[in-house]
């Protein structure tokens, strides 16, 4: 039985008596009997595991993530950055982690003030007036910004650069397809506004990413001029670390600035939870989705904080709300706020510039190798760069992997226009020794004399050793748990039945 259920049998009896019923079944009589029949489970263990067994199960799974033992040159919207221990110490405090949304401000001043400080820091970092209390992630921030622009301009078209993160564009596309009235147009990365396809109607917004997913920094000033001339809202996706050294988008005419805050003290965690932000100018505030914290006073005139402008939100406006979003990423936002506080303006600039120096050094050395070149040699980059290879990217990455290096993101998967291209990233965690090792592997790989020929494409078996039966614990428990199978509503597929644990969709449907 679970450790988390406090009642004794005597407690339960006393409570049933107070309710005035003879047994627990009386409390479930409103559920039709035919729904309460036995249930066959294929994945659930019959009974709970002990804390020690859970620990073992999770430790085992964690060790099967072999990628975490390799040096990481992967970026692309998720960055292997240094997280000061104080960030985790603060974020693991129960008072933050196990509290609810601060709808009751009298007992939630901690969370509320953190959000207010966050809003202020991010406004300054982006050069904007107001920032919301976060949305799900960068993709959701881009999407909500596009919907916001459409509401503000009462226009239906959205134009987005292919230099915007492919996942963000995919999510935006999903939302646009669901929406009955919007349309989406992508345009090539690294072009000038005059190269845009001609169109009868101006879009609600143009979405750029700075630095782009492909690492490049495109000159924003022509876009500012173009958007001003055609009264288009300029939406800029901006990495928060890059803003430690780069001019904030508020300085070049952005109407909405959005982005992903994972790099600020949040774990990679295989992609989530992350934390999107939306910053905008004060005249657009009413169409900004998501929670907002404002300063107020209590009944004794003392300053304090509270959620405000809630009439924009779904719990008040229902289908007329600015968005269906209810949650914010409060705990991730907390990490970002503590991170920014610990680093300060100088620390953030250092993180950005150390990352940039290492990337420029790596790229310079790599481009001296015949077979490697910058994909966009005329465009500046910061701490991430797209490379063009003379060999298949997958084989190069495999060679690096054998030497303990995750060498970058294969761009051809999301960008068919750039085959054999690789996105490589460095951070303040990328030790110079690892950079040298990367360079050496590259030299060997592209040197006909030393290259393993032909490189074996697939040797994943050496890494992949997941247990053959994903639900082995279910068998183990039902085999040892004898009496536990008699639970009223619970029938477990008998142990030892070789067909029982589903390893394919078909097996499961047979329930």
């Amino acid at each position: 039985m679970s450790n988390f259920l406090p009642h004794t049998a005597a407690d339960r009896q006393a409570m049933l008596k107070a309710i005035g019923v003879s047994g627990i079944d009386a409390l479930f009589e409103d559920i039709p009997a035919q729904l309460r029949g036995p249930k066959h489970y294929t994945a659930l263990p019959a009974d709970g595991l002990s804390e020690l067994e859970i620990q073992d199960a999770l430790k085992q799974l964690a060790t099967e993530n072999k990628a975490t033992e390799l040096a990481c040159f992967l970026g692309g919207g998720a960055y292997d950055r240094f997280i000061p221990q104080a960030v985790n110490t603060i974020a693991s405090r129960s008072e933050f982690a196990t509290s609810y949304t601060p709808y009751q401000p009298e007992i939630s001043q901690g969370t509320l003030q953190v959000i207010y400080e966050f809003q202020s820091m991010m406004a300054s970092l982006t050069g904007m007036d107001v920032v919301n209390a976060s949305v799900y992630d960068g993709a959701s921030a881009v999407t909500e910004a596009a919907l916001m622009a459409a509401r503000l301009t009462k226009r239906n078209h959205i134009w987005v650069s292919r230099n915007v993160h492919p996942d963000y564009r995919r999510v935006l596309s999903t939302y646009v397809q669901a929406n009955q009235s919007l349309s989406l147009q992508e345009f090539s990365a690294n072009i000038q506004p005059e190269e845009l396809p001609r169109s009868e109607n101006n879009p609600a917004c143009i979405i750029l990413q700075w630095p782009g997913y492909l690492g490049t920094l495109e000159d924003p000033t022509p876009w500012q001029a173009y958007c001003e001339q055609h009264q288009i809202l300029l939406v800029v996706v901006a990495d928060p670390v890059s803003l430690g050294v780069l001019e904030p988008p508020g300085q070049y005419g952005a109407s909405i600035v959005v982005g992903e805050l994972q790099p600020l003290g949040n774990h990679l965690a295989y992609g989530g939870p992350y934390c999107g932000y939306i910053a905008t100018r004060k005249q657009y505030l009413r169409q900004l989705p998501g929670r907002l914290v404002g300063r107020s006073v209590d009944s004794q005139g003392r300053p304090c904080f509270t959620l405000t402008l809630q009439t924009r939100e779904q719990h008040i406006r229902r289908e007329k709300a600015t968005s269906n979003i209810c949650t914010n990423q409060a705990l991730n936002l907390l990490k970002a706020t503590v991170y920014l506080s610990l680093l300060g303006p100088q620390g953030l600039a250092t993180v950005a510039s150390v990352s940039a120096q290492r990337c420029h050094y790596l790229v310079e050395k790599l481009c001296q190798i015949e077979g490697i070149a910058l994909l966009f040699p005329d465009q500046p980059f910061l701490f991430e760069a797209a490379l063009k290879l003379s060999q298949p990217t997958a084989l190069f990455l495999k060679a690096l992997e054998r030497q303990g290096i995750l060498g970058g993101i294969e761009l051809g998967k999301a960008y068919t226009e750039y085959p054999n291209a690789l996105l490589v990233t460095t951070t303040e965690k990328t030790h110079p020794n690892l950079i040298e090792r990367y360079i050496q592997v590259a030299k060997d790989f592209f040197n006909p004399a030393t290259a393993v020929s032909p490189p074996q494409a697939l040797d994943e078996e050496e890494w992949a050793r997941p247990s053959a039966d994903p639900f082995a614990y279910a068998e183990k428990i039902s085999a040892t748990g004898s009496g536990s199978l008699h639970h009223r509503n619970c029938v477990i597929v008998p142990a030892g039945n070789s067909n029982a644990p589903a390893t394919s969709g078909e097996g499961v449907s047979a329930r």
Binding site: F28, Q104, H165
Partner: protein
């Protein structure tokens, strides 16, 4: 803004002084060139961001002191209806923080991510067991996004059938606000279904009248936000399906029925699950959540891409799903929440989850039975995991006493107030969900507090009206916050002499 008082904890910006930095960073260790040589001068930041410059100790103290102004599960009871504020087991949090999970880059090759992918696959199947459905996506970031995904799949289903007439989604008036908002984001017209005022349940006649060839779906929470199981659920499903519509299950209240009755068996086609409710992943002060969506075979093809698969040897991500609605979140979902939810499910097993729901229902009925002595309970019948009371009896004693004053007074007893003024169909509602993790002793203390407050309403109503008295700040003025908008310290500073510039914009 009053200058006579200061904040309980000064803003971190006020502690800032130039030159301080809370953490040291490594040098690049490679030959450097000035940034001006690497990037055009015009693009380099001219004015540093106004981030605080504080020492590490000052930073840690600041945020620790702020934390102490919060109520949280680990310090007190949270009888918040529809929010399922149960204990967040420490074992789930701790092992979620193993570096093997936290340091995993989402773009790492799949064969090097077998642990997390394997966990996701197992969790998908555990959720299929619990809900009775045939397939699960773990991608949605929260319950509301799960709802939206569900509605997108409903939309795709009818688009594929070329059934363009189905433009309406029926939603009971007791539903969460996210339901109509999510349906609205897909362009559906929301038809409100008025609940039967006598029973609080779905009015079958009214439902039948709303159903037509235009009906795409009924979105239903079962048990409802009144804590009542829709006993006619099989008839309801039949009616909707006969009209050609689909059944959407809002999983907010799944905690009441685990191991008892499965949404798929009730006739639903699609549902979302809130891991931060049912599976005890921490609420984090408002997020992150996680909102997996489960579907039957009818809708499986439309699930978001990618889905985690297992070929008998290796786990992988399946992107090749031509009918998929697409991707709804960068990468694959809120994985840290999945690790916790999986650990929680392992900790309970099938029998434990059934016991969870039994105890959740037992606790709610116990509170209902005891509180109905002093409070009006509009639907005083067997409830599931939550129930509604209102402040009508207390209001009758003093016109200034209402649900809000009762809620605020509860804080003085160390309890978070219940959900208030929701569902909208009960006047002055107070929605109480104790969850299964609270002991009888805690429930008894809560009852004592509620009975004491009821007595105070008669004997010293001012004590209630002016509450709270013992919280870090007293009653917060939400009108001032909305009128004199101050959302950004630096913007306020700029205009501190006159009206706030935000305020001027909005007036």
């Amino acid at each position: 803004m009053s200058t006579a008082h200061s904040l309980l904890e000064p803003l971190i910006f006020e502690a800032s002084s130039p030159g301080h930095q809370g953490v040291s960073l490594p040098a690049s260790g490679v030959p450097e060139r000035p940034l001006q040589a690497l990037l055009p001068q015009a693009w380099l930041r001219k004015k540093p961001a106004q981030l605080p410059e504080v020492s590490q100790l000052e930073t840690v103290r600041h945020f620790t002191r702020l934390s102490q102004l919060n109520h949280c599960i680990d310090t007190g009871f949270y009888p918040l209806g529809s929010c399922t504020m149960k204990y967040n087991p420490k074992v789930c949090d701790t092992y979620n923080q193993l570096e093997g999970f936290t340091a995993l880059h989402p773009m790492a090759p799949e064969h090097l991510c077998q642990g997390t992918l394997g966990l996701m696959y197992r969790l998908q199947h555990c959720l299929m067991d619990i809900t009775g459905f045939d397939a699960v996506t773990l991608q949605p970031a929260a319950g509301a996004q799960g709802e939206l995904v569900g509605m997108m799949m409903v939309q795709s289903y009818f688009r594929q059938k070329n059934d363009t007439a189905r433009t309406e989604v029926i939603i009971p008036d007791s539903a969460h606000g996210t339901n109509p908002a999510s349906a609205g984001m897909c362009g559906f017209d929301v038809k409100e279904l008025r609940s039967d005022p006598k029973t609080g349940r779905v009015d079958l006649e009214k439902l039948a009248k709303l159903l037509s060839h235009k009906t795409a779906a009924l979105m239903l929470t079962n048990p409802s936000t009144l804590g009542l199981f829709e006993s006619d659920i099989l008839t309801i499903s039949q009616l909707v399906h006969d009209a050609g519509g689909l059944m959407y299950y809002d999983g907010a209240n799944l905690n009441a029925v685990m191991g008892q009755a499965r949404p798929a068996d009730m006739g639903f086609d699609v549902m979302h699950i809130n891991t931060h409710k049912t599976f005890a992943t921490p609420h984090g002060g408002g997020g992150p959540g996680s909102g997996p969506v489960a579907v039957n075979r009818r809708l499986e093809a439309f699930l978001p891409s990618p889905i985690v698969t297992f070929d008998g040897i290796r786990y992988g991500l399946d992107w090749d799903r031509p009918h998929s609605i697409g991707q709804v979140k960068a990468f694959y979902g809120n994985v840290e929440m999945m690790v916790r939810a999986y650990a929680y499910i392992l900790a309970h097993g099938a029998s434990g989850l059934a016991q969870v729901s039994e105890d959740a229902v037992l606790n709610a009925n116990y509170l209902r039975a005891r509180l109905s002595q002093a409070y009006h309970v509009p639907y005083n019948t067997v409830c599931k995991h939550e129930f509604i009371l209102d402040s009508s009896r207390q209001h009758a004693q003093h016109e200034k006493i209402n649900t809000m004053t009762l809620a605020k007074r509860l804080m003085d007893f160390g309890f978070h107030p219940p959900t208030v003024y929701f569902p909208l169909i009960v006047h002055e509602a107070m929605m109480i969900e104790p969850t299964e993790t609270e002991s009888k002793a805690t429930l008894d203390r809560f009852v004592e507090a509620m009975l004491t407050i009821a007595e105070e309403c008669q004997q010293q109503p001012e004590r209630v009206i002016q509450a709270p008295h013992t919280t870090p700040v007293s009653r917060v003025d939400e009108v001032v916050a909305a009128k004199k908008l101050d959302l950004n310290y630096f913007l306020t500073l700029e205009t501190s002499s006159g009206t706030n510039s935000l305020e001027a914009t909005l007036s």
